[in-house]
Symmetry: C2
Subunit: 602 residues, 2 copies
């Protein structure tokens, strides 16, 4: 047996000598990609071997010599399926070689912040009351702090018992001149940051004194039961009696559950969480806060509030510390919300020294452009196709979802989340499939099936549903029937892609620059982390630029929320940044129709 | 028919020539006292006739010559039952000649305040949103105000529809840098002031721009269902599951109903009320705010909070304007609460230039003493006897309650609220009865029945319940049986009186002054307004001082609440005043037992 370590994941273990690096990765639970299943044809399982370990592997195979460029070989790149292990070594897995689903487990890009939270602790040791010292509990706290603070009503309601139980020793948590919580002596100050997405919630529990992330967790947005996209929920809120209240309650329940989950992972109680930051798009922001969404659903799509807000957690249905506040980052416009502001904050788009584009692809795709100190933003109605909806076999990136597709010499290779038997296709899988079908000539530019005549084994066949692409034949499918992609599915991807492409093209137009002027493109969000950038560029979803200008930055909205949780300066920066953004309304833009129509082309 | 006007009540009308002034008063609904029923024996129906109208009445009768002193006759005092009307005139009714119940309708003493409320209006006329001006509603308001205000969450929740309905013309109500309400254009700013008493609620609706009282109303405290005094309610809160919450809810419901009543009298909606002030004793304060009362019920009787508080009306269950706040005046100690502070404020006790005592007699009697710039306060557990409880035929001052009693030459005279057939005895009635029985020799100093032997028609008889004083024989009673006062009833009055007398005596002792040093005694509250001061002095309930040193000042707690509603300076003054008060805890005072025992003597 020999030892192997996969970096930077820190996964290590032992395997029998002679197995491939890919096989070792599978045995140790490392999500190393290998679409062709180790046949040496797809080239997706690239790993990098440091010089000192190069002779721990079998020599370069013919396949590798063929598939790897000279520069790659010099850097120590190997195909994991071809390289057999001889003795103990470490290999490095570049992000693009991780399975899409494992990649999303990597945290969003971290931007260092000075820890300076809005809440601060003050340790109290107070004399107990007596007939000769009958000061009120609050007066006693004020005297202990040495300044005339207010004590929140709910803190007053709950303080007397713990104070007496703890023998008048406690940690007061101050937010400005108000006591928002009393914690047991020595308890750490904790906060939660939440990205309230249309589809998913992402939450983080942080120690506000050290900045450490104590736990992170995700969950589906329970509002999904009332409509899958923003417009469907706004419609529900407006048309159903109590609809808005039901959506508000669903968001509050989902967030409360997420907070409970985070706390249980860290072994603490939600009552110990003294501050929260919530970001979300403008509709999620409004539904969560219980603000009316009617003005958001009708032109001119005006939010009720765009400035940052501090509201009591209890007033929005979150059971945290008695007086805990929730800080909600500012919105920019009706469809560019606090999540986008958080993403701009986390990526420091406000101080980008090169023309930089930021895309957060989702049901709504928020796009930001920074150039010469100016910020432009828009929102594209890309729909839920990339989140698995409106696609016949679409699903989210759960085990068994096809997440990567390659068509090599007419043969279809696929990879599923956690290697489970295929049961559907997630967003990155369908994007891959459409891109590969187009490259292989099975789709024409309009999205129609190209004539496969004269080719070998065509994956496009006629079925009861018309002509379809068979992604997974019935015999390999976990469903017991074939998993296919129809013309209509392709059409959904065309619409989504066109909306996004028209969006960034109009931002470039507004800023007066060309595609090639972009020096950096940041692709954010879960889907943005899953996708194969090369395919997205080839399809025109992303600007046609060298791949090294792209960075997949993960959930930067969540990162921005965490930064605002830890730092007052970051909150101010976010407020300032939101006011600086020039919002571009796509639906009324003179170029929109034409650009959208052109971008429908594959 | 001749015209007659009763001043300063402003009641006028016509009556046939030749009727007495008392008869005219009855016909016109003026609550002129006349305990003996117009027999000319009690002397309670004194009125004052201005010189120009003196010959509009019949000449002085023999009875008047006998009963009125020379000085009185010179001032134009007449007995209304003896003076017959000859032609049109005006008469003045001194407060002591009004029936007790009518007297309480006279407002508490008014102290002028500079109108400077904590909420101010700002008239807005905003451009409507459009695709070229998609600012959020809140941003539009901020821009209209020209300053970066916050908008309360609940205002945000409700603002969008009215703003659009009113065509973007509105009145914003600002409290500091926060918008707490949006009113229709031209709507006045209104506030409510409430005295939350253990037994009764008194509420006032004020125009905050003019200072005008638009409506005033009273109600019973619905908490009465859970105990009649403070200790009973604290016990209920501690012993019953959900007891405290039930009491909180009862207070909130009672106040909400009172506000609804006030608003309906003034023809406005509670949503237009933008600020409130609530005062009450410390236990009422805590129960209303939902603060735990356990520390209040046990030595050292420590409140949870004694400083002034500003809480959202919605957080304490009051449905006012969306973001309206409730200001709660400070407490002094466990049993000297915000109502006492309001009374000290209204009577300007903090700047009294002469030694002044203030008593607010109720289930708890709060007593304040001002001397040489120092303020002392205590609370006496006087019990509910003066509010009609713990007395066999006791009742509150509702129609049919005997409110005045005179024993003249062994005959008992009484007067009831609104002249209705007698059905019980209210506090002032029982105080009168005990004082008159003692003066007439039917009670000894220990409260026992004195031997009535050898007298004429004794009103003290033996019944099934032992020896009792027959206040109203069965044939005159609205109950169909006699209304009597028992030895036990007398005992209740002795206990109440002793608690109060021991209280002010100890305050004098603490301040190092004697009874005779007091230059002013202010008697406040409903009962304090009803009582016959002479009787209260004779019994030792009040200091033995010339009657002209006493002032019956009405509900000064309510007045103080109104002052704090109208003026920020008064709120600051109240906060300052509460900190200056030296609280004296009676129960542990070394002189308390002895003084209490002595004061039991009638």
């Amino acid at each position: 047996m020999v030892a192997i370590a996969f970096q930077p994941l820190g996964k290590r273990g032992t395997v029998p000598a002679g197995v491939s690096v890919l096989e070792a990765a599978r045995r140790l639970g490392v999500g190393l990609s290998g679409v062709c299943g180790g046949a040496g044809v797809c080239g997706t399982c690239r790993v990098v071997v440091p010089p000192e370990y190069r002779d721990a592997l079998s020599p370069l195979s013919d396949t590798e010599r063929e598939r790897l460029g000279g520069a790659e070989r010099e850097q120590g790149v190997r195909l994991a399926c071809r390289a057999l292990i001889r003795r103990a070594l470490q290999v490095f897995v570049p992000p693009e070689s991780l399975t899409a689903s494992q990649r999303t487990q990597v945290e969003g890009r971290q931007t260092p912040v000075r820890i300076d939270p809005v809440v601060v602790p003050a340790d109290l040791s107070l004399p107990p009351p007596s007939l000769s010292d009958p000061r009120s509990d609050a007066e006693r706290i004020r005297d202990g702090l040495g300044r005339p603070v207010r004590v929140d009503l709910e803190v007053l309601r709950r303080a007397p018992f713990p104070l007496r139980e703890w023998g008048w020793v406690a940690r007061a948590v101050l937010r400005g001149d108000e006591v928002v919580a009393l914690l047991p002596p020595g308890a750490p100050l904790m906060g939660v940051a939440v990205d309230l997405g249309t589809t998913k919630l992402a939450g983080y529990l942080l120690n506000l004194e050290t900045g450490e992330t104590l736990a992170s967790a995700g969950a589906m947005n329970p509002q999904l039961a009332y409509g899958e996209d923003v417009m469907a929920r706004i419609t529900y809120a407006l048309q159903e009696p109590e609809g808005a209240e039901r959506l508000r309650q669903a968001a509050a329940d989902g967030l409360s559950q997420l907070v409970a989950d985070l706390c249980s992972r860290a072994g603490v109680q939600p009552e110990q969480v003294v501050e929260a930051v919530v970001v979300g798009n403008t509709a999620m922001h409004h539904l969560f806060l219980g603000l009316p969404v009617r003005p958001l659903g009708l032109a001119p799509y005006v939010p009720v509030e765009s400035a940052p807000l501090d509201v009591r957690a209890r007033e929005v249905g979150l059971p945290l510390a008695p007086g805990a506040m929730v800080h909600v980052l500012p919105n920019v416009a009706g469809f560019v919300g606090a999540d986008h502001v958080a993403a701009l904050l986390a990526t420091r788009m406000d101080e980008a020294d090169r023309p930089t584009l930021l895309l957060d692809i989702g049901t709504n795709t928020e796009i930001g452009l920074s150039i010469g100190g100016n910020l432009f933003s828009c929102s594209a109605a890309s729909g839920p196709a990339f989140e698995g909806a409106h696609v016949r076999f679409g699903m989210r990136a759960a085990p068994g979802a096809v997440e990567r597709v390659r068509i090599i010499e007419g043969r279809v290779y696929w990879e599923t989340v956690e290697g489970a038997p295929p049961v559907g296709i997630c967003g990155s899988g369908i994007l891959d499939a459409v891109a590969e079908l187009r490259q292989a000539g099975f789709l024409n530019g309009r999205g129609g099936w190209a004539d496969p005549e004269g080719r070998g084994s065509s994956p496009v066949i006629s079925t009861d549903n018309g002509t379809e692409f068979v992604l997974v034949p019935a015999e390999f499918s976990g469903l017991g029937r074939a998993i296919t992609i129809s013309r209509k599915d392709v059409g959904e991807i065309q619409l989504a892609k066109a909306a996004i492409a028209a969006g960034w093209q109009i931002l470039l137009e507004e800023a007066g620059i060309r595609e090639s002027d972009l020096e950096r493109v940041l692709v954010a969000g879960a889907f943005g982390t899953y996708i194969d950038i090369g395919h997205a560029v080839a399809m025109g979803l992303l600007p046609r630029l060298p791949l090294d200008r792209f960075e997949q930055v993960g959930n930067v909205a969540g990162t921005g929320a965490r930064m605002a949780l830890l730092s007052r300066a970051e909150r101010e920066r976010a407020a300032h940044l939101a006011r600086r953004v020039r919002y571009v309304e796509l639906t009324v833009h003179p170029s929109f129709r034409e650009r959208f129509a052109q971008a429908l082309q594959l």
